[in-house]
């Protein structure tokens, strides 16, 4: 019960931490995809199958593709390869800030009494989720749909070139 959780947690955190320190963008993107998969494993462990598959489908399947595309489309220049002079200071500051947040969060977790008895896992059947989505959360579902559409259009508009007469290949 606990052991799989610990393994998943340690692996995910380790993979994410390594990803954040690597200089090779592709490697860190791939490792981050691994950590997303680890999070999906956690969902699976917690009994939220649907969320786990959604996580894999969206993150490992779609977001990762967009990230890799962005990496490939943005060629790195020489300036990116050398360590910027302020990188060390910034890194130290980030570590400090991160450590502080970590301390606060850990302190809060430890200080709070959360002695919930680990009861039987709640079930979330696909049917129940579907009924919730179409019933109680129908409005939110619509809003999310609108957000996604707008985001898609916005992304296309932002990323598209605005050259004059750019219709040369549009046949």
């Amino acid at each position: 019960m606990i052991l799989p959780l610990v393994i998943i947690a340690l692996l995910t955190i380790a993979v994410a931490a390594i990803a954040m320190t690597l200089r090779n963008l592709i490697h860190s993107a791939l490792l981050l995809i691994g950590s997303w998969a680890g999070i999906a494993a956690f969902y699976f462990w917690a009994g939220a199958e649907f969320a786990a598959f959604a996580q894999v489908l969206v993150y490992v399947g779609a977001v990762s593709m967009v990230v890799l595309f962005a990496v490939l489309l943005t060629r790195r220049s020489r300036a990116d390869l050398e360590v910027a002079p302020d990188a060390i200071g910034r890194g130290l500051g980030a570590m400090l800030a991160g450590g502080a947040v970590l301390g606060v969060l850990f302190g809060a977790v430890f200080a709070t009494r959360l002695d919930v008895a680990p009861t039987a896992a709640p079930t979330a059947s696909v049917r129940a989720i579907g009924q919730q989505l179409m019933g109680a959360h129908a409005a939110s579902l619509l809003v999310v749909g609108v957000i996604l559409t707008v985001a898609l259009l916005g992304a296309v508009v932002i990323a598209s070139t605005d050259r004059e007469g750019g219709k040369e290949d549009a046949r």
Binding site: H27, F44, W45, G47, F50, F53, G61, M65, A120, R127
Partner: protein, 437 residues
């Protein structure tokens, strides 16, 4: 006769636990052939004490899948080459001699229509030098084929190969299938990028663009099935296609207007997802010298090949499950044939179709490819979704309404097909060159 064990808790997701005892099998069917696979499994794993049993069952399922599909892969490669040969009016590989080691002196070489070819290929792949380019990303270069094969194999476990023959019964099995399948493009990207070869990288980018484009129609095409069947579980979807109308027309989804359209869209998208021929741009040998496969040799290359066939089998198996009634017999009096034989027959028929298409059509250009998806398949799949809603709403009413839904739903899908198809056909018109005279 149908035993569908409802998932009692979500964490109980491992192993073939559909049928846990011979008694249950006996209720499922009394024919020997039908329950032979499960009986075999129980005979093997029954020796173990109870706590180990589900692990053993799971291992048995894994071994079975690898054995069956590994062998199927071997002979599909041969079948593909044979069929391609026949289509081009030549006999195909027919020379690999069957090893007759102890009796070689008396028998000489025996050529069994090239049936030994897969094994010769396997030996060749195993003994070839494994070349890793000097500038390659060694880890990713190794990881890519392994990951690809792993993901392709993962998709196979939720397909019901026969009555009670599903390795992993999930509540959201169809979602699982496509989640696992979505990861394959990651492996293709890894292969292309790790090779440090411009062609491979181009192939990787093409693969990403293509797979993203075709993921959408693929996902949209099976949503109607889920709507009608009311479940994401593959077993339940097969269950929903049980029975015969008038005693001889099976209730398969492909035999409805929306189901037929969904099936066709699914198969076209599946062709693209498995990088098969009219859409095999990532490995286009004439323009990208085999793309992401360029820098692979030996067994890693064989892994890629194996993953392609596994993916093809998985997608065809999913199409069979979703649209062609799964393991069900087409006619009532044919039910004496075991269910897995029916599944296998349908699967092979679809794969044969894949090969036939490969033998026929030339490769698309990348812009035609993406345009075909975004401007044709996706709108059509969305319309099909609405079509299914109309179908479902009209089925509740009077018999006249139920009869009227056939022409209505057929029209709803055929008219946009013709209309969108006209625009598509225009876009494939002879290319005009801007700079050439």
């Amino acid at each position: 006769m149908s035993v569908v064990v409802v998932a009692t808790s979500a964490s109980e997701w491992t192993a073939l636990r559909v049928v846990d005892s011979l008694a249950l099998v006996a209720t499922a069917t009394d024919r020997f052939l039908e329950c032979a696979p499960v009986m075999l499994r129980d005979a093997v794993t029954g020796l173990l004490p109870d706590p180990w049993r589900w692990i053993a069952n799971g291992l048995f399922a894994i071994v079975a899948i690898f054995a069956v599909f590994g062998l199927l892969f071997a002979f599909l490669t041969l079948a593909e080459r044979k069929i391609l040969g026949r289509v081009q009016n030549r006999p195909g590989p027919n020379r690999a001699p069957t090893p007759t080691f102890p009796f070689a002196k008396f028998l000489g070489k025996i050529r069994t229509y090239g049936l030994a070819q897969p094994f010769a290929d396997g030996v060749k792949a195993l003994t070839k030098e494994d070349i890793v380019p000097d500038g390659a990303d060694k880890v990713l270069h190794f990881l890519a084929p392994v990951a690809l094969l792993a993901f392709a194999t993962l998709t196979l476990v939720v397909i019901p190969f026969g009555r009670n023959l599903v390795a992993l019964q999930l509540d959201a099995a169809v979602l699982y299938f496509f989640a696992a399948g979505a990861a394959t493009e990651l492996a293709v990207f890894m292969a292309g990028w790790a090779s440090r070869n411009k062609y491979s990288l181009l192939a990787a980018m093409r693969a990403l663009a293509q797979l993203i484009s075709y993921e959408l129609p693929l996902l949209l095409s099976w949503v109607p099935v889920v709507m009608i069947a009311g479940s994401l579980s593959t077993v339940a979807i097969v269950e929903a296609q049980a029975g015969w109308k008038f005693g001889f027309i099976p209730h398969w989804h492909v035999l409805t207007p929306w189901g037929f359209a969904g099936f066709v869209i699914f198969m076209v998208a599946a062709l693209a997802e498995s990088n098969r021929s009219p859409f095999d741009l990532p490995e286009a040998e004439s323009e990208l010298i085999a793309g992401h496969l360029t820098e692979y040799s030996g067994f890693k290359y064989a892994f890629f090949f194996m993953a392609e066939y596994f993916g093809m089998c998985a997608l065809s198996g999913m199409a069979v499950t979703l649209f062609l009634g799964g393991w069900r017999a087409p006619l009532p009096f044919l039910e004496f044939i075991p269910s897995y034989a029916w599944f296998g027959a349908k699967l092979l028929a679809l794969i044969l179709g894949f090969m036939w298409i490969r033998a026929t059509f030339p490769r698309l250009r990348i812009d035609q490819l993406t345009r075909f998806s975004w401007k044709f398949l996706v709108p059509l799949a969305l319309i099909n979704l609405g079509n299914t809603v109309v179908w479902a709403l009209m089925s509740g009413g009077s018999p006249a309404l139920a009869l009227a839904r056939w022409p209505v739903c057929a029209a709803i899908i055929v008219v946009p097909f013709v209309w969108l198809g006209r625009a598509q056909s225009a876009s494939y018109a002879p290319r005009t060159y801007r700079y050439a005279a």
